[in-house]
């Protein structure tokens, strides 16, 4: 995985450099021995509406990558392009060094788990798992052995003769995974694999999938709109928006160093403040106080910017503390040992804060409080970047 190393770069600079680096990765030459999946400059449009624009990134062999983004961001289209179910207008896809573009879906050696699983309703669990093996004309004894092995892997040996509709949602999901893995594909694609399950079951199956993936060690790409799921299951996240890759990185990287305001707001909550840069290390918030950042802002003085702070980087203080933004307490909800607090500033901006439940005084709805931002963990984006 060519991860973008920007650990030392302040967020504002990372923002400037991120598109450049993505383009680098999108155009870099592919060596034929490169294992894993390589995507280069993939573009596609549906009757004139662009769905993918110059998408490119690498997935190392054995890695789990989650394509993450709001609905309509192009992540499912990209997955179908990798699968071969859709031929993109432009771009190239390599799997273990082999160019896939002229290879039809059924010969790509890619397993896929569909949303709602797409199990064949008239075939039993065992026949579903055997389907791919029979397509590839494996001998009968090998088919039977492999089917038993796969059913053992997903712990469904006792359900071999059931029809899919006689199984629970979680069992169906496991059959779908077993069916996709039975032919030993070179890569596995998952389209919202846990989306149809209830919360408790989802967590359980996610853990089980992570264990199984580690055992099998297959290169995996998963589409999801659930950032928690992506963070749980994947080593690397690819955040997409409006057909573009916004950022590629590890879950921590993306949470701590978002490359754009979109990523910042999509991954977890971000409190946004309009501000104007007044010096190398200072910016004046539209709400009044001036913020000083030791790291500097990397914007020319006079630039309009948006400062963002995670809820855990917002501190509550007395209203008249120096440098505090005044706000009103709206409500609070306990979250384990933390308290999630909703506040509203005089100009109507909603602020979320996450504070220790046992720290500081308790307020009542309507009370005036002050907000201090943790300047070490602020992110700065140009004001023009909406969403």
């Amino acid at each position: 995985m060519t991860l973008l190393s920007r650990s030392e770069v302040p967020a504002a600079q990372a923002q400037d450099r991120a598109p450049l680096q993505n383009t680098d990765s999108a155009t870099a030459p592919v060596s034929l021995s490169q294992a894993g999946l390589v995507l280069r400059r993939i573009s596609h449009s549906f009757s004139g509406t662009p769905a993918l624009r110059d998408v490119g990134f690498d997935v190392g062999a054995g890695q789990v990558v989650a394509l993450l983004g709001p609905s309509g961001c192009g992540k499912s289209t990209l997955l179908r392009a990798i699968a071969g179910l859709l031929v993109p207008d432009r771009g190239e896809i390599f799997l273990d060094g082999q160019n896939l573009m002229s290879i039809p879906a059924r010969k790509r050696s890619i397993g896929m788990v569909f949303q709602n699983y797409a199990l064949f309703p008239h075939l039993t669990v065992a026949e579903n798992v055997a389907y791919g093996l029979i397509s590839h004309r494996r001998p009968r004894a090998e088919v039977n052995a492999r089917v038993s092995e796969m059913l053992r892997l997903v712990r469904l040996e006792d359900y071999a003769r059931r029809l899919p509709r006689e199984l629970s949602g979680g069992q169906q999901q496991r059959v779908a995974v077993a069916r996709a893995l039975a032919v030993s594909p070179a890569a596995l694609l998952l389209d919202e694999p846990f989306g149809a399950l209830d919360r408790a079951l989802r967590t359980e199956l996610q853990d089980e999938f992570v264990r199984m993936q580690a055992d099998v060690g297959i290169t995996t790409i998963m589409v999801t709109h659930d950032q928690e799921e992506a963070q749980t299951v994947a080593d690397t996240l690819v955040v997409m928006n409006a057909g573009r890759v916004e950022q590629v990185g590890s879950p921590e990287d993306i949470y701590d160093r978002p490359a754009s305001l979109f990523v910042n707001r999509f991954m977890g909550h971000a409190n946004c403040f309009s501000a104007k840069v007044t010096g190398a290390h200072t910016a004046a918030l539209a709400a009044g106080p001036t913020v000083t950042s030791a790291r500097g802002f990397a914007f020319r003085p006079g630039s309009d910017v948006i400062l963002t702070a995670r809820p855990e980087h917002v501190r509550l203080v007395a209203q008249n503390d120096a440098g505090a933004i005044s706000a009103k307490w709206v409500r609070a909800a306990p979250l384990a040992h933390m308290l999630s607090v909703d506040l509203i500033t005089p100009d109507g901006t909603l602020i979320k804060a996450l504070v220790n439940r046992h720290d500081g005084p308790r307020y009542a709805p309507g009370d005036a409080v002050g907000i201090l931002l943790d300047t070490q963990n602020l992110h700065v984006f140009p004001a023009a970047s909406k969403t």
């Binding site: 039809p104 010969k107 896929m112 569909f114 309703p121 008239h122 791919g132 397509s135 029809l163």
Partner: protein, 277 residues
């Protein structure tokens, strides 16, 4: 019978069914087992089954139904597959083209077929022009002609149920088969066909019932030489005035076509096929 007093709402329908369907059927049943001297006897049935010509007509009728079912399937399944692969605009077109024959009166359609099947009709003419036949020929009053006409007339009865199933079918099943290495024929045979099968069976029941009882088409295209059960019954009723005999023949027709239809319906209830529906 129904929840919350629904019985009152279906009462008119039930009364109508009893008066107009079950009662006449009962009268027919009684008439069929009434001997010439007014006693209960199976003489009418025995007479029919002993008559080799009559039994031949019964078999011919069943075979005609099966042949039409086969022809409609060969033509209808590809049309349904065309619908599956078509875009929204073509889908509408295929649907309208399929429905159109149903909007024409059966008598009018049948007379149109007289023109098409005749000696100077397009079939005969083009075969001659292509050198496939030395001289013009007529398909009128032949079983081939009758099957062609019935096939066109009954086609929507098979295509519409299949289209109804395909319109809501999960396309990802085909994608899944493709991802598992299935080539086109395997995709069709193992995924699309099982998906369509309940609808095909339903269509077969409709086509078979309709093809074996289509009196107008039988008599106009088949003429006097090709006799099928409906005409046989008509002869007993309208010409020979053997009403008890006609009743017995009607019952045999009902039982024999009914057996085929029940068999198909039971087949469609198979665990695996029911899973597709």
């Amino acid at each position: 019978m129904l929840r919350q007093g629904g019985t009152a709402f279906i009462l008119p329908m039930m009364v109508m069914m009893v008066l107009c369907f079950l009662a006449p059927l009962g009268v027919l049943a009684v008439a069929s087992i009434t001997g010439p001297d007014g006693q209960v006897s199976l003489a009418n049935y025995r007479q029919f089954l002993d008559d080799s010509f009559a039994v031949g007509v019964l078999w011919n009728t069943i075979f005609l139904g099966l042949k039409v079912v086969a022809a409609v399937t060969l033509l209808g399944v590809p049309i349904a597959l065309m619908y599956w692969h078509a875009g929204p605009r073509w889908r509408t077109l295929i649907l309208i083209a399929t429905l159109l024959p149903m909007l024409t009166s059966n008598v009018v359609r049948t007379f149109a077929w007289i023109v098409i099947l005749g000696r100077n009709g397009p079939i005969s003419q083009s075969m001659v022009e292509l050198g496939l036949s030395p001289r013009p020929f007529s398909l009128l009053f032949t079983e081939t002609g009758l099957i062609m006409a019935l096939t066109q007339i009954e086609l929507p009865l098979l295509v519409l149920p299949i289209i109804a199933v395909l319109a809501t079918a999960d396309r990802r099943l085909v994608d899944a088969a493709e991802m598992l290495g299935a080539a086109r024929w395997r995709c069709f045979l193992t995924v699309l066909l099982p998906m369509m099968t309940p609808a095909i069976f339903a269509g077969w029941v409709l086509v078979f019932a309709s093809a074996t009882t289509s009196f107008v088409t039988h008599s106009v295209i088949g003429g006097a030489r090709l006799i099928y059960m409906p005409q046989f019954v008509y002869r007993e009723v309208g010409i020979l005035f053997q009403w008890p005999m006609a009743a017995a023949i009607s019952f045999l027709l009902l039982v024999s076509t009914g057996a085929v239809m029940i068999a198909l319906t039971l087949l469609a209830r198979h665990r695996r096929l029911a899973a597709c529906a």
